[in-house]
Point group: C2
Chain length 237, copies 2
């Protein structure tokens, strides 16, 4: 037994065995199933196999539970973005693209977290730890943008990294919200959300003066009607 007291306690809990964690998991399942709006405090208790009064030992009320989920969501989001960024390896541009893909992957694979973070109406401003967690997640994008901005090619104007980060965040968020959700409210799309986002970011970066072509330079089109490969090379007819 090399467990310290805290570890043992966190692992087994008192009676139920870590009810707080079980409630968070139950709520996540319910949100994924019925949406952030359609889950209740009593629901979470029932789903965790516990009486309706038990959650009050761990959360002030439903909003408190929801805020905890959002907080954890931002932490996992930050971790996912950080892993995708991988400190800019193997090169800044491709790592940057990977961060965008990770944004979409998170929205698709963790719809419950995503709902709690962005669509549940949790008051971020009145919850400093939650706001800080959100800032840290955004910070990953900001740092990536700073590294990218530092690589501005000679002759091009160096853009403010904060603005770049906000643009990329907004574009990723828009694509994820409109097209990249697992189940509900998605619209038909002639291409995958990942390809849509990638093409958008590449065009954006080119607009900033970055060379983004895989091939050094695409030949000018022989006919105006034909589509030589560009950042949108994957778009179907």
């Amino acid at each position: 037994m090399s467990w310290r007291k805290d570890d043992r306690r966190a692992e087994r809990g008192y009676h139920h065995g870590n009810l707080k964690e079980a409630l968070l998991q139950a709520a996540l399942g319910l949100i994924a199933e019925k949406g952030a709006a359609g889950f209740t405090f009593a629901d979470a208790a029932r789903s965790a196999g516990v009486s309706a009064a038990a959650p009050y030992r761990h959360f002030r009320d439903r909003d408190d539970l929801l805020a905890s989920i959002a907080q954890r969501g931002f932490e996992q989001f930050e971790a996912a973005l950080t892993a995708a960024w991988d400190d800019g390896r193997p090169d800044t541009v491709s790592a940057f693209m990977r961060v965008g893909k990770a944004y979409l992957a998170f929205a698709r694979n963790e719809p419950a977290f995503y709902s709690a973070m962005f669509e549940s109406g949790v008051p971020v401003d009145s919850n400093p730890p939650l706001a800080a967690a959100g800032e840290r997640a955004f910070g990953v994008i900001r740092i990536a943008a700073e590294r990218l901005a530092a690589l501005t090619p000679p002759g091009a104007t160096r853009p403010p990294a904060m603005m770049m980060a906000l643009h990329i965040w907004s574009l990723s968020h828009g694509v994820a919200s409109l097209f990249g959700r697992g189940d509900a409210a998605r619209r038909k799309l002639p291409m995958s959300p990942e390809d849509l986002l990638e093409a958008g970011v590449l065009i954006y970066l080119r607009g900033l003066g970055f060379p983004t072509e895989r091939r050094p330079q695409p030949p000018p089109p022989p006919e105006a009607g034909e589509r030589p490969a560009g950042p949108w090379g994957k778009v179907p007819k």
Copy 2:
């Protein structure tokens, strides 16, 4: 009296005086006030000054009411975007930018419609008229993108208009959702959402080969630390 029968009826209604319309307005007010999640069918009836049973004469249930609001929202959204586009006057690029601004203005000025359209969980797919209304709104952006794509400068590759429209829609939606709401869940921003979106669209268009500088060509920066004017000229320090 030149009223046709339908007109008179639509104007006064039977007893209450167009309760259907009053319920829609009441629900809009409640959504704006408490969010799409926190309004009930009974609430709308009460707010319209009518018994709790009355709404059943006009809407099957709460979701039906919400879908009607979303439908009307998309129609007004389409009208706002169409007006902003103004058939591409006075020139295609500036009209295009105006459409983006109209997107943000709608999200800010009509938060209740925006919530019902994009955040209320109304099942768009199982509601063909609603889906069609959404498509028509998107169609405005698509048409604008087509006109813009047709202007691709010589030497640049003409981008698929559908993809351009999806990018602009996504960026606008992301900016509006993250920063451009009237009251709730907004984050701090070092510039206005309008300026953020405008800069993003300009950079994007430049990435497609469009000339977007107001000045013919900005001089290269004398010092790397200084920021000459670009599309992000309005960004504060």
